[in-house]
Every structure is written in structure tokens, then in C-alpha cells.
């Protein structure tokens, strides 16, 4: 009962081996243990043998603790930091690409909203715009809400990436 009530959302940063099958191990862990996964993004680091992953998940504090431990247990996972749990401040960003209707009144409205969110129109056609907006979750969500009346034909989100503020950083050892 208490487990259902106290659900928190955490952002976890990982350094993992950059080799085939690692994503499958991590995705498999989340599915086999029935953990939530809100977003997952991954990319190479300065060291091409290492990838950095950002996972946004949610659960009871005990479950979140388990998630971190279970991730650490994977041999191909080199380092895990629950950014939310550290209490340190961190910057997180997500990018969204939206294909919106851009005919008639919607054309000017879409441009205005893009401007307000300091987004970019990266593709233009007589009928549509492709808009790129970067920001934290709240900003992305707000932009989507405001663009809805224009008519969103397609929406792609990258998932969150995050990094700690200040000089602290996630290192291999």
C-alpha cells in the first residue's frame, strides 16, 4: 500500500561499455523487474569505448534503490549515479521535433510560439513546419500544449540528458 503512495521520479546517469547487447541488458532489466522507464537516452562519450546513458524512472524509494543496485550489478555497467538522490543540482534537457500544420493562421501562430520558446524552425514546406525545441521537461510540455491548436502531425522526443552543475563530473573510476 505504502509503496503505491510514495512514488518518486528520479534521473539516473550511467557510464556503460559501448558494445552490442548493453542496451538490451538494461532494457531487459527494467522489463523483467517491472520497473518504470520514462525515458532513456544514450550516446558515445569522449572515450569511444564508453557510452553515457540517462534514464528517467519512477518508483517507491526502496524500488529506486533497487534499480540503482541492479544496474550496478550488470557487468557492462561501469558507473551509476542517481542524480536526483545525490541532492546535487543538475541540468537536464530534452529536445523535441514537432511537425505542425503551417497553413493560414496556424503559420504565424506556430512561428510566434517557436520564438517564445527560443526554438528553431528547421524545415519549411507550404503546409508544415518542423520545429526544434530544447529545454527541461516543463518547457517541452508547455510548448507541446501551446502548439496543439495548430495541429501537431508528428512529435519526436529525444528523452532527457542530464549533467551535474558545477565542477563535479561523472568519471570512470
Amino acid at each position: 500500500m505504502t509503496q503505491e503512495q510514495d512514488i518518486r521520479r528520479h534521473t539516473i546517469a550511467l557510464l556503460v561499455e559501448n558494445k552490442p547487447g548493453v542496451m538490451a541488458r538494461i532494457a531487459g532489466l527494467f522489463s523483467s523487474k517491472d520497473y518504470n522507464i520514462h525515458s532513456l537516452s544514450v550516446g558515445e562519450t569522449m572515450d569511444p569505448s564508453v557510452s553515457r546513458m540517462t534514464i528517467v524512472t519512477s518508483g517507491h524509494p526502496l524500488v529506486l534503490e533497487q534499480i540503482v543496485k541492479q544496474l550496478r550489478r550488470l557487468i557492462d555497467v561501469i558507473k551509476v549515479v542517481d542524480l536526483t538522490a545525490t541532492g546535487e543540482k543538475f541540468v537536464d534537457r530534452e529536445m523535441v521535433l514537432l511537425k505542425v500544420n503551417a497553413k493560414g493562421e496556424a503559420r504565424a501562430e506556430a512561428m510566434r510560439i517557436t520564438d517564445i520558446f527560443r526554438g528553431k524552425i528547421v524545415d519549411v514546406s507550404p503546409e508544415t513546419f518542423v520545429i526544434e525545441i530544447t529545454g527541461d521537461e516543463g518547457k517541452i510540455q508547455a510548448a507541446i500544449e501551446l502548439l496543439k491548436p495548430c495541429g501537431i502531425r508528428e512529435l519526436v522526443r529525444t528523452g532527457k540528458v542530464a549533467v551535474m552543475r558545477g565542477p563535479k563530473s561523472l568519471k570512470l573510476a
Binding site: 556503460v16 561499455e17 547487447g21 538490451a24 541488458r25 531487459g28 523483467s32 526502496l62 534503490e65 533497487q66 543496485k69 541492479q70 550496478r72 550489478r73 550488470l74 557487468i75 557492462d76 555497467v77 561501469i78 558507473k79 570512470l172 573510476a173
Partner: protein, 592 residues
């Protein structure tokens, strides 16, 4: 540096790892390995009759010796047949290295003949697995596989080798050291945590040690005994922990949990401190979680909580929140703890005498018992007599179900690695091949598989293996013609509706033995049991004893699934009132 073929590198690596025994089954993808094997007479290969048998045998070898079990099978069905065995080893933290053949790298993903994505299939049931991409990396991967399988919390590791990797060529260099940047198992406990634990132990009035398979894996049995004896603390073991503390020790309460003893389950319910060591609070141990160890977990009532020693951080606070977690190897941590405890000025005996007296009283109220019959053989009687005639010295493997629980309760294990059973996964068909592995790892020991008629038939084909290699295991079948444990549930909780559990249509096991060229006996009269078992332990060859037992005997005590462990059924409900009582015990989410 000399260039070697992949199949040569493979065997060279096994030699470097000190492997002298492997289990396997050949096929197309590994035929070159088998071809090369004849040049490595130092390594003995046991050809089982099914790949599942090979894995369980390797597992039995590993559990009985503490050394990694090694198996080799071909691609596709050879590989998929290992999955149950691998999952069995994974659940019980048994070190295995399983080598599978694979179709050539160029054909992977092509639905080639005998292709299966065994790395994908076994990802959730191995500690780690590898697909070897080039002959170059074969030696390093084999080195890492053995290292990962045997260190930290041990477990099975699978190495998938495509045929072109096996026949390819590379310079052979066996890495001296292993460096895996994402794998650093901790060994010693944090001194501050150890001190904290010691302080709680010194404070406790009603402490209980709850120890599991970790004691056996880390060979911490002497330290465990030291801790119990120094502090006058009673010990209860999990199924996997049996043998980790002497079964006849005055501080031993028996197994706890679903089929635990009355005194052990009362102890965990009433203790004020749990010292959990190498155990993982499995649902079969805790029963209903909310009602588990209520006194220890209630701080307001003076509960001191739970100290948990485990090498695997994920085992800690997984099911039950722990107050003092200590991550590391049980043997190290217990000796650290003993050092601290020895410096403390505590009258252990005086402090715990009331508690020990209470436990004694509970035990005498409801000791482990069964009713003997002169007409029909009681399965418990068979185990009791086996214990007597073997003087408690045999290595016992079990199948899964009633036979397993009776073997756990009525045979008292003296030392680690003496009781070998599939605890976590509960794999029927495990015991017989595991006995083969245990016998090969302990050639001079008396190895007995305590079997059920259902389980034994699940890997009965390994009789040929036993005959081919003269492996003198003894199979004692407690034959009730039922899938006994399921039938027991049906009797108790499903109005005796024995749906699909009657397996009395079965082979004549004596004739089966004879068909394979070994001896078989059938026992039907209680008075024949002891004399036959006495001669059995002296026989130098494999034997099957088919013991026809009371068909409807049940395992007691029993905690209904999902109920609190203090709610034990101690006998069959014989009256209406008992039946009502039973219904009251059953939780809503039953069965689970």
C-alpha cells in the same frame, strides 16, 4: 608467439583454469572442439544423454566441490536445452561456465540451421554472457567468464562461440590478470557497519541468526558456529543453507519458512534481532511480508531490527527493509564481527538463557514428527533410516517437492556442500544429474539422490551416463504415484480435487534399472526398509531403490502460501473446525 586454432585455444584455456572434468554433448557447431579434445587427455569429458543433464551435473559438481562446473553443448537445441539448468544455477548462485556452439558469424540472424540467439535467451538467467566475435578475444573472454562465475556472488556465465571463431586462428596468450571496469565485487565488510552490528547483537535479548546459502558459498561455516557459540545465539537455516551449521547442534532450530520447523518459525516471529547472513528473504522464508518478524521490526516494542550480511547489494532491503546492511563476503565479515564481539563485556549466556529456554519449550510443544506405520512405509521414516545408516555422512541431492522437503527436514546435515537441492527455481529433474556431478567431484563419497517418482522421470535418461562411467550414485525414489506436493496443496486447499496429479501409470523402476544393467529394488514393507538401506550404503555401484510410500502423506509443518509464518499447519485438518481454521489462514491472494 605461436598461433593456435580457436579449438586449441579453448582447451588450453580450460587447462589454465585447472579444469579436469567437463560435461557435454557434441553437435555440428562444436565438432571441432570435440575433435581436438582427444589431444587433451587431462580433461575428462562426461557425455550425458541430454544437455539439461549436463548442466545439472556440472551444477552438482560445482555445489559439492566449490569449483566451477563446466559444460559444453552445440548450437540451437543444444543451447536451448541448457536454459533450465542455467536458470537453476542462477537462482542458487552456483558457479558454472557453459560453452555453446553458434552458427558462423556471417550466418547469425539468418535463421540458419540449429541457430538460436542463446545470448539473448539467457541474458536474464546468467550472471553474464558473451558472444565471442573473433578468435583473438576467445582467451580473454574465457578468462573473464571463469572470473565472473566464481567471484562475488557466483553464478552461471555463458560463452557463445560461433563456428568460425572456433576454427579461426589467433596468437594465444592467456591473460594473467582480469580487469573488468564494471565489476568489482566487495569482499570485506565496512568496519563501522560491523561495529554497529556487534553493538546490536550485544544489546539483543532474543537474537536469531538466519543464515542461507551464502554461508556455504563463502565457506563461513566455522565463523558462523563461532558467532553462535560465542554469543549463545540460536541458528535457523534456509533450505540453501542446510549444512552451513551442524544439524545436530543444540543451538540449531532447523529450517525456517513454508516448511520450516515450529520452533524456527516461532523464533523468527518473536525474536528482537535478526542476524541475516547470506540469505535473501525469499518469499518461501518470509511468508506474508507484513507479518514477518513483527517484534524485531517494531522499534517501539523494543525491536532492534535486522542486520544483513550479503555479498550482493541487491539482496539487501529488496523485500524487507534492513537496519544494518553489511556488503561483503560472509566469512570475512563474520570474522571481523567475531573480533569485535570478543572484546565486548557481555554475559551472553545469562542474557539469552530465557530466550533459549522459551525456544526449547516451543520445540517440545511441536517437535518435528510424523506417525510411524507398520502397514505402509512413511517417507519420513525412509529419510530417518537413511540418516542413521549413513551416520549423517552422505552427500544428498534431491528432486523438488515433497521428497525435497522431507530430505531437508529429516536428514541432519553436518557440513557444507552435503545437501544439494534446487532451492530458488525448484527444478524437478535436478537431483539425479546433480548426484552424478557430485559423485564425480567426490569419488569416495556416498551420494544419494532422494527422488520422487515424478521428478526422477524428468531426467531418467541419465541412467545411461551412470552406467557408461560407472558412477555409483544411489537413487531412492519415494514413490507415491503422485506429483506429491501439488497433490498436497489440492488436498489441503482444493477440496481433494486431484486434477492431473495422479501419475500412478509409471514404469516398473526395478525393470528400468535392469534394462540399463544396474540393480533395482522395490520396498513395500516398512520392516524391509532398514535392512535394505544398510546393504545399499555398502554397494559400490549405481542402484535404484523404488520405495512405495504412503500415497497421501503430507509435509508438515506447512505455512499456506501468502500466510504469516507463525500460522503453521502442523497436521492434516481432520475436523470441521480445523477446516474452518485453514480457510481463515488462507489469504485472499492465494495461491501464489
Amino acid at each position: 608467439m605461436a598461433k593456435l586454432k580457436g579449438y586449441q585455444i579453448f582447451w588450453e584455456c580450460l587447462l589454465k583454469e585447472g579444469v579436469d572434468l567437463i560435461f557435454g554433448y557434441p553437435g555440428g557447431a562444436v565438432i571441432n572442439l570435440y575433435d581436438e579434445m582427444v589431444n587433451y587427455p587431462q580433461i575428462r569429458h562426461i557425455l550425458t544423454r541430454h544437455e539439461q543433464g549436463a548442466i545439472h551435473a556440472a551444477d552438482g559438481y560445482a555445489r559439492s566441490t566449490g569449483r566451477p562446473g563446466v559444460a559444453i553443448v552445440t548450437s540451437g537445441p543444444g543451447a536451448t536445452n541448457t536454459v533450465t539448468g542455467i536458470a537453476t544455477a542462477y537462482m542458487d548462485s552456483s558457479p558454472l561456465v557453459v560453452f555453446t556452439g553458434q552458427v558462423p558469424t556471417a550466418l547469425i540472424g539468418n535463421d540458419a540451421f540449429q541457430e538460436a540467439d542463446i545470448v539473448g535467451i539467457t541474458r536474464p538467467c546468467t550472471k553474464h554472457n558473451f558472444l565471442v566475435k573473433s578468435t583473438q578475444e576467445l582467451a580473454r573472454i574465457i578468462r573473464e567468464a571463469f572470473y565472473i562465475a566464481t567471484t562475488g556472488r557466483p553464478g552461471p556465465v555463458l560463452v557463445d562461440m560461433p563456428k568460425d571463431v572456433i576454427v579461426g586462428e589467433a596468437e594465444f596468450e592467456y591473460p594473467e590478470k582480469v580487469h573488468i571496469r564494471g565489476y568489482h565485487p566487495s569482499t570485506r565488510g565496512h568496519p563501522q557497519q560491523v561495529r554497529k552490528a556487534a553493538q546490536l547483537i550485544a544489546k539483543a535479548k532474543r537474537p536469531l541468526i538466519y543464515a542461507g546459502g551464502g554461508i556455504i558459498i563463502s565457506s563461513a561455516h566455522k565463523e558462523l558456529r563461532g558467532l553462535a557459540e560465542l554469543t549463545h545465539t540460536p541458528v535457523s537455516l534456509t533450505l540453501m543453507g542446510l549444512g552451513g551449521f551442524p544439524g545436530d547442534h543444540p543451538l540449531f532450530l532447523g529450517m525456517l519458512g513454508m516448511h520450516g520447523t515450529y520452533v524456527a518459525n516461532m523464533a523468527i516471529t518473536h525474536c528482537d534481532l535478526i542476524i541475516a547472513i547470506g540469505a535473501r528473504f525469499d518469499d518461501r522464508v518470509t511468508g506474508k511480508l507484513d507479518a514477518f518478524a513483527p517484534k524485531a521490526r517494531d522499534e517501539r516494542a523494543g525491536g532492534l531490527g535486522i542486520v544483513h550480511v550479503d555479498v550482493d547489494p541487491t539482496s539487501i532491503s529488496k523485500n524487507v527493509e534492513v537496519n544494518v546492511p553489511i556488503v561483503g563476503d560472509a566469512k570475512n565479515i563474520l570474522s571481523q564481527m567475531l573480533e569485535v564481539l570478543k572484546t565486548m563485556d557481555v554475559d551472553w549466556e545469562g542474557q539469552h538463557s530465557g530466550w533459549l529456554a522459551q525456544l526449547k519449550e516451543w520445540d517440545s510443544q511441536h517437535p518435528l514428527q510424523y506417525s510411524y506405520s507398520e502397514k505402509v512405509i512413511k517417507p519420513q521414516y525412509v529419510i530417518e533410516k537413511l540418516y542413521e545408516v549413513t551416520q549423517g555422512e552422505a552427500i544428498v541431492t534431491t528432486e523438488v517437492g515433497q521428497n525435497q522437503m522431507w530430505a531437508a527436514l529429516f536428514y541432519r546435515y553436518k557440513r557444507p556442500r552435503q545437501f544439494i537441492t534446487s532451492g530458488g527455481l525448484g527444478t524437478m529433474g535436478f537431483g539425479f544429474p546433480a548426484a552424478i556431478g557430485a559423485q564425480l567431484g567426490n569419488p569416495d563419497a556416498l551420494v544419494i539422490d532422494i527422488a520422487g517418482d515424478g521428478s526422477f522421470q524428468m531426467n531418467i535418461q541419465e541412467l545411461a551416463t551412470v552406467v557408461q562411467y560407472n558412477i555409483p550414485v544411489k537413487v531412492v525414489i519415494l514413490n507415491n504415484g503422485y506429483l506429491g506436493m501439488v497433490r498436497q496443496w489440492q488436498e489441503l486447499f482444493f477440496d481433494r480435487k486431484y486434477s492431473q496429479t495422479d501419475i500412478s501409470v509409471q514404469p516398473d523402476f526395478v525393470k528400468v534399472a535392469e534394462a540399463y544393467g544396474i540393480k533395482g529394488y522395490r520396498l513395500e514393507d516398512p520392516k524391509d526398509v532398514e535392512p535394505l538401506l544398510k546393504s545399499l550404503v555398502k554397494m559400490k555401484e549405481a542402484v535404484i531403490v523404488d520405495v512405495v510410500v504412503d500415497r497421501e502423506e503430507c509435509v508438515f509443518p506447512m505455512v499456506p502460501a501468502g500466510a504469516a509464518v507463525s500460522n503453521m499447519l502442523l497436521d492434516k485438518p481432520t475436523t470441521e473446525k480445523n477446516g474452518e481454521e485453514l480457510k481463515r489462514l488462507l489469504p485472499l491472494n492465494f495461491p501464489s
